[in-house]
């Protein structure tokens, strides 16, 4: 198992290098010379400009610039944000934390709701419960996440129950620790609902389909024939096997979540990674974009790795590392 994890982590490195090359090339194609914007404004001190130029070879052709960036990145130096003059890494850590909070709470909501609802739908197949669930699922799959986010803001504004966007109240610095936590939770509720329910719908349909497939298997008939209670048949025999294919889609659901979060973050003013990417793409903050891309891709790959490990734990037939 350990060997498998190490092997997978090692294969991530060439992949990340490939991603960084692709992104760097894309950013270089874009019109608008950012060296020019760096030198023309006087927001950068001469010394800092010289330092960046020296470190990242801004006066050299872009393949060499890329290699310099890569060399620095391998030492975990992702450069300076051109817009805020902060080191990219410190901004990234903060933004990643925020995205993680939102993603994890949405993930928990989505899976916590999807699995029981999917089981319910499959067991009560073709009854009104199932139909209601399917209707719910189709609605949430079809409604654009940014539109739901808008409606959620509308709800927050009208009801006054929740803050309208953002992650902290304006007076957060005056609060004590527990108060800050409650404040964060209050801001978290609506974005989590928007993202979590959207993610829930797809997983629920998968769970329903997977369980229906399993219930057709012979060993289920055998279990019933032996006189096991229906509850035992479902919980002990069917669900355990039906859940495996879902673990493989865990990685995909994470990818969808990160993408969905990018839009919701922008609508609901949640200071996460997706919002950072939009801001820095628009201000041509090239090193910030690169850093955010690397981080997003790493999170995605770690998520996939995590789902593989999870699969190996739940399914004894799978032997990792072979």
């Amino acid at each position: 198992m350990i060997r498998f994890i190490i092997k997978r982590l090692l294969t991530m490195i060439p992949l990340l290098i490939g991603i960084s090359f692709l992104c760097f090339a894309i950013l270089q194609i874009s019109p608008g010379d950012y060296v020019l914007s760096l030198t023309s404004g006087d927001q950068f001190s001469e010394e800092l400009r010289r330092q960046i130029t020296h470190e990242f070879g801004l006066d050299k052709p872009w393949p060499i610039q890329y290699l310099l960036w890569l060399g620095n990145a391998l030492h975990l130096n992702f450069g300076m944000s051109l817009a805020t003059r902060q080191p990219v890494t410190s901004v990234l850590w903060e933004r990643m934390g925020n995205t993680m909070i939102l993603s994890l709470s949405s993930l928990a909501l989505a899976w916590g709701l999807a699995i029981p609802l999917g089981i319910l739908s499959a067991v009560k197949r073709n009854t009104w419960v199932d139909r209601l669930n399917s209707l719910f699922a189709f609605t949430w799959i079809s409604i654009p996440s940014f539109f739901v986010a808008l409606l959620a803001l509308l709800f927050a504004q009208r009801s006054g129950l929740f803050p309208v966007g953002g992650m902290h109240s304006a007076d957060v610095d005056l609060m004590t620790g527990p108060e800050q936590f409650v404040d964060l939770l209050r801001h978290l509720v609506l974005p989590t609902l928007v993202l979590g329910l959207g993610g829930c719908a797809g997983i629920m349909r998968q769970m329903r389909g997977s369980l229906l497939d399993t219930l057709r298997d012979n060993y289920i008939t055998a279990a019933r024939a032996r006189g096991l209670s229906e509850r035992k048949v479902i919980v002990k025999h069917a669900v355990r096997n039906a859940i495996n294919p879902l673990i493989t889609i865990f990685g995909f659901s994470l990818a969808g979540l990160l993408s969905g979060a990018a839009l919701v973050e922008n609508v609901m003013a949640w200071p996460g990674l997706g919002r950072l990417i939009l801001e820095s793409v628009l201000s041509k903050d090239i090193y910030m974009v690169m850093g955010a891309f690397m981080l997003g891709a790493t999170m995605l790959m770690l998520g996939n790795l995590f789902s593989d490990i999870l699969l190996a734990i739940t399914d004894p037939r799978i032997r990792l590392g072979k």
Partner: protein
């Protein structure tokens, strides 16, 4: 083919075995699909929507860029009386005026004018060819009829919704056709040749798939200069969507091609000296076609959502050209969001379109799945 026992109460023409045996795969699919009410409803809605997009200029009463000083006017009232207050079967509309004290629009009583059908107005070209100047409906006597109100520049929201549908509805179809072609070809080549070709193509796929999709879309679309010709922007957005989307399809197609190439009929074709590309096109890809059809139908909504999301963020189709996504950008303003409900209409249209595609795609998947056939 195994013919399962027919239920005893089946209609007489269903009991003819040779009848169902002689069905082509398409007839079989169609028969299955017709049983699914949701799929048929989805299909019907899509036909209506696409007809609407084709007739957009005819259906829209006003030019999409025509501004007026009626800013954020709510939907015009439809009343059934004339300007003297006498009842009339024919729908009338009333002039609206802004009350400067309350900042609210009110219908002026005694200003009712009849709605008119087939009005001559702004000339346009139907499908870009047929020059016409007929519009389905309009107000009369100088009273404008804004069925879905007006936006921040006093432009008719309904007209923009109609014309915007042309962009929002075509972008998914065009993007999926390109994705489809690239994905099928790349997947087919990778699976058929195997070895280093397969290796390189799949590594490229992995790189693209390891980046959260919407991050990549934002970065790519964010690079388009804002001053670009709108038509070029439209094309480039399609290219971007396809570039991001082909990898997933190619991987699955590769898997199918990998198992197909070992089959006898493919080896027979190879032994006969058929060229590689012909084998891929004629023998390998058709086996992946069912999967591809279903996944394409289910992928179109993804493209529609992606385009509207990008345009919403101001990165996709840019104003003044309307698309459903960029029309919703105005609703990001809290004041507009809370008091100008008609500005949310494009969101409803996106929802209906995507829902229809999902119903149809889901039905198609069931209809093409031999396990579910009875």
């Amino acid at each position: 083919m195994i013919v399962t026992a027919m239920p005893s109460n089946a209609a007489p023409n269903d009991t003819l075995e040779d009848d169902s045996l002689s069905e082509t795969p398409w007839q079989l699919t169609w028969r299955q699909l017709r049983k699914n009410r949701f799929a048929m409803a989805g299909g019907a809605v899509l036909i209506v929507l696409y007809t609407m997009a084709i007739l957009a200029n005819f259906l829209s009463p006003y030019p999409i860029t025509e501004r007026s000083d009626h800013v954020y006017q709510p939907p015009s009232a439809v009343v059934f009386h004339d300007d003297n207050g006498r009842f009339s079967m024919w729908p009338h509309t009333e002039r609206m005026a802004l009350n400067t004290q309350t900042q609210q629009y009110n219908s002026l009583s005694g200003s009712a004018v009849p709605l008119r059908l087939f009005v001559r107005g702004e000339p346009y070209r139907l499908l870009g060819l047929l020059p016409l100047n007929m519009h389905l409906f309009s107000g009369s006597g100088g009273v404008p009829f804004h069925i879905l109100g007006t936006d921040s520049d006093g432009r008719d929201v309904f007209s923009r919704l109609m014309v915007g549908s042309q962009i929002s509805l075509t972008i998914g179809i065009v993007a999926i056709s390109i994705t489809f072609t690239i994905g099928l070809l790349m997947g087919g080549i990778a699976g058929y040749y195997g070895g280093p070709v397969d290796n390189i193509l799949m590594r490229i796929c992995e790189v693209i798939m390891s980046i959260p999709q919407f991050y990549l879309l934002i970065a790519l679309a964010g690079l388009l200069p804002p001053t670009l010709d709108p038509r070029l922007t439209f094309l480039l957005i399609i290219v971007i969507l396809s570039f991001v989307g082909w990898a997933g399809l190619a991987r699955v197609i590769r898997g199918i091609a990998l198992s197909t190439r070992e089959l006898e009929y493919v080896q027979a074709a190879r032994a006969l000296g058929v060229s590689d590309l012909t084998i891929i096109r004629r023998h390998v890809l058709p086996s992946a076609f069912t999967y591809a059809t279903v996944s394409a139908t289910l992928a179109i909504p993804g493209y529609i959502l992606a385009e509207s999301g990008l345009s919403f963020l101001g990165l996709g189709i840019k104003i003044p050209i309307p698309s459903w996504g960029n029309m919703l950008t105005a609703a990001q303003n809290l004041e507009v969001l809370t008091s100008k409900f008609w500005m949310l209409a494009p969101g409803v249209m996106i929802f209906v379109t995507v829902l229809a595609f999902n119903f149809l795609g889901d039905g198609l998947r069931d209809a093409l799945d031999p396990k579910l056939r009875r």
